[in-house]
Structures are given as structure tokens and as C-alpha cells.
């Protein structure tokens, strides 16, 4: 059978395309899959960078918070005590020996109180290092410090056991805790605060409950006052956890994160 030139060209074209379909499909698949892998790598790199950024931010915020407390404490307590000591000592009159003893004793008492306060303060500076010893110790220290003001009834319960390789997560969790505690004390004006850490094989739950004013999450977010809340949600999501907020006779915030 003689095939016409036109038919032959068509046949050749068709045959070539058919023969090449399988390898070309395979090559295309490999390339598409590789592109997907590349995108996945980029996403992973982006997540890693944003995690590191948040971690750095959290560390800086923990330091900032410590410095703020430190400044306040120096000004309000130690500064006052030392001023009082100086005033007491300046009022000593050498020609009145009976009062000298009394004033020296008084100045000595004030100095001792200042020393005690300073010791507490030095522990606070050390407090930012506490996250290295474990989340529970850092939280306990923060709560102990709050207790010294005698304005809040505080309870703390924990079955926490530190695990290897989770330090970054702990810093972020501690910073979130500080933020929630700040909100409870400053904005919600709470007088009772319950904190609990519940740990099991795979997860860690941090629960902070207060008897403050509470809030409506949507409204807070709408009024753009919710930057703290937004940050809390963002950071918890970054460490793979979730936040549950319950507003009933105060506020209860539960943060559950994977903690293998």
C-alpha cells in the first residue's frame, strides 16, 4: 500500500508524539514534584525564620519585662528605703547621745530592709535565666514576686518535668505567660490568680485563671486593643499549639502545646 506524502508526515508526527508521551509525562511529573519539594523547603525555611524571629522577640520581651520590674522596684522600694536611711542619718545630732543610738538602730533597720530588697531584686535579674532551669521555676518565681505585693491571692500547681530540646518552646511559653499575667493584673484587675501546668507524655497544658473583668475577644480584636491577644495566638500557633479562652467569672486561658 502506498501512503501519500501528506499522510506519512501526519503519521510520523503522530507516532513521534505518541512515543514521546510516556517519557515526557514522566519528566514533567519529576519536575513538578521537584518544584513542590522546593516550595515545601521554602515554606519550611520561612517558618524556621519566623520561629527564630519570634523566639528572639520573646527573649527580648522577657528581658524588657525584667528590666521594667527592676526599674520600678529600684525606684519604689530600694530608692525610698535608702533615702529614708540617708534622712535618718542626717538627723543624728552628736550632742544628743540618747537619740543617737535610736537613730542609728533605725537607720540600720532601714539598711537591712534595703539589703533584703536588693537580694530579692538580684534574684529577679537572675529570674530571666530561670527559663533555662525549667518553665515551672520561671513561672513560680514570677508568681512569688507578684505575691510580695500582697495584692493577689495566687495558687500554682504543676507536674512539669523538663524535657531535652524544648527550651525554645519554653521561652515562648514563658513570655506568653508573662503577657497573660500582665493582662490579668493590669487590665482585668484580678485579685485571685490560679496557674496550673499539666504535662502528659505528648503535650503540655498551661492554664491561667483569674477573677478579673474578662473581655470579649472579638471586640478586643476589633478595637485593635488585642495586639497582646493576637501575639499570644500567633506564638502558640508557631509552636504547634492551640489557645482556648473561656470568659466566665473572670478569664480562663488554656494553652496546649505538643511536648513530646
Amino acid at each position: 500500500m502506498q501512503i501519500s506524502s501528506k499522510d506519512l508526515i501526519l503519521l510520523i508526527g503522530l507516532a513521534s508524539v505518541i512515543f514521546l508521551i510516556a517519557p515526557v509525562s514522566l519528566i514533567t511529573y519529576v519536575m513538578l514534584y521537584n518544584n513542590r519539594k522546593k516550595r515545601h523547603e521554602q515554606e519550611k525555611a520561612w517558618l524556621k525564620t519566623s520561629f527564630e524571629n519570634e523566639l528572639l522577640k520573646s527573649q527580648m520581651e522577657v528581658q524588657e519585662q525584667t528590666m521594667q520590674t527592676l526599674a520600678g522596684h529600684l525606684h519604689d522600694n530600694i530608692g525610698q528605703l535608702l533615702s529614708l536611711t540617708a534622712v535618718t542619718l542626717s538627723t543624728i545630732k552628736p550632742d544628743d547621745p540618747l537619740r543617737v543610738r535610736e537613730k542609728v538602730d533605725s537607720a540600720s533597720q532601714l539598711a537591712k530592709r534595703a539589703i533584703k530588697e536588693l537580694r530579692q531584686l538580684s534574684r529577679l535579674i537572675y529570674g530571666q535565666e530561670l527559663t533555662r532551669m525549667g518553665l515551672d521555676k520561671a513561672i513560680a518565681f514570677e508568681l512569688d514576686y507578684l505575691k510580695t505585693a500582697d495584692l493577689h491571692v495566687i495558687t500554682f500547681d504543676s507536674n512539669y518535668k523538663p524535657k531535652e530540646g524544648q527550651h525554645d518552646k519554653e521561652i515562648i511559653l514563658f513570655r506568653i505567660f508573662q503577657e497573660i499575667l500582665n493582662n490579668a493584673v493590669r487590665h482585668a484587675e484580678a485579685t485571685a490568680i490560679d496557674v496550673a501546668i499539666q504535662q502528659d507524655e505528648q503535650s503540655l497544658e498551661v492554664r491561667i485563671k483569674d477573677n478579673g473583668k474578662g473581655f470579649v475577644e472579638e471586640e478586643v480584636m476589633k478595637e485593635k486593643r488585642g495586639m497582646g491577644l493576637f501575639n499570644i495566638r500567633k506564638r502558640v500557633a508557631l509552636i504547634g499549639g492551640e489557645v482556648r479562652i473561656l470568659i466566665q467569672n473572670g478569664t480562663e486561658i488554656k494553652i496546649v502545646v505538643p511536648y513530646p
Binding site: 500500500m1 502506498q2 501512503i3 501519500s4 506524502s5 506519512l8 508526515i9 503519521l11 510520523i12 507516532a15 513521534s16 505518541i18 512515543f19 514521546l20 510516556a22 517519557p23 515526557v24 514522566l26 519528566i27 519529576v30 519536575m31 514534584y33 521537584n34 518544584n35 519539594k37 522546593k38 523547603e41
Partner: protein, 222 residues
Amino acid sequence: MSAYITVNTTGEALCFVVSLFCLYKDKEPAWRLFICFLLLTVVVEVCGIYLRTELHRPNFMIYNVFLLVECLMQSYFFYYLYKTYHNTQKLLIGWLTIFACFYFAELLKSHFGAYVSASSTTLSVALILASVYFYYLLLKEEKSRPLFTYAPFWWVNGTICFYFAGIACNLFFSYLVQDRTPGIGHSARYIVFSIINIILYLSWSYAFICRYRQRILSSSLD
């Protein structure tokens, strides 16, 4: 003279020139071997045409010998590609032994009087499987690769297209060899093979260029 200038010889010669330019300083012997292999391919092709057109004698024997060289070269190159992932030395030796047995058995069976088409088909199947396995290893890798400039990928692409289309053409469209159409003067099979040859040599040339660029880039970084 015009008989020597065909699509195949031109493609092979151009690819040889590209390989000479891009690979002569390559640090990997596996890549440098392509210069010799492509030179040999051109020589074999020219000799084949000379035997057929000038001496009017069958040229299958020269292609039979060349098939052995082709098998060694391609198998060694795949072995080199797999080396990045794991050692396949035993597999290479096993495959070459099986192929040699098959090849010589076929040669003896035909009393050295015909082209070893079964061996050629076996080689094609093995190279297709080798190419697919290379893709599998690429997919399995945790990290992505810049495939558009990854020389081994383009070399394998050319190889799989050539052997896949070649085997399909040989197995299913053998009747295409019969018809010579006025105005074209060649069988459909010849033209299909010319097309896949172009794809092969284009792909290989691009792979050599990628390899050259990679070498230049890494030497400029040193």
C-alpha cells in the same frame, strides 16, 4: 558526499563538538568519556554510510560492535550517577555479564550474519528502567534540585526519550520501515529515528552545557 551529511551524522557531530568544548576539562572521567564515545559514534555512522553506499556491503557488523561500546558507556554512566546515592557495582557487573551472554548467544545464533536486534532491545529496556530508577532516586531525595540546570537530569531525559521512542518504534511500528514515499525518500521509521536522535543530542548537548556552567561556577567560587 551528501550521503554523509544526514540528520543523524550532523546531530552526532554537533553534539561531539559541544562535548569537546564543554567536557574536556571536566574533573569526572565519566563525563569526559562522552567525548570519545561521541567521536566513536560519528566515526561508526560515517563508516556505516561508507560501507553501505561506497562498498555496497551490509554494515550491521560495525553496529553490532558499537552496541557493545554503547552498552558499556551507558551502563558505566548510570553507575556513576547512582554512585551519589549508593554503590551499585555488583548490579553493574551482574547486568554487564547478563548482557554479554545474551549478546554473544544472539551473535552465535545468527552466525554473525545479522544485526543483534534482540540485544539492542534488551539494552533499550534496561536503559529505560535505569532512567526510571534515576527519577525514583531524584524523587526520593529530601532536598529539591535545580532541575533546569541539573546536567544528569537532562542527560537521563535525552536517554529515556531516545530509548523509549526507539523501542516503541522497533516493536510496534516495524511496518513503517517498508514504505518509502515519493517526495520524502525515507521510511517513516527512519524519520522517527531522526526526530528522536535530534531530541537525544539536543538534550545531551544541553546537559554538557549545564555541566560546563557548573564547572565554571564552582571554579570561580574556589
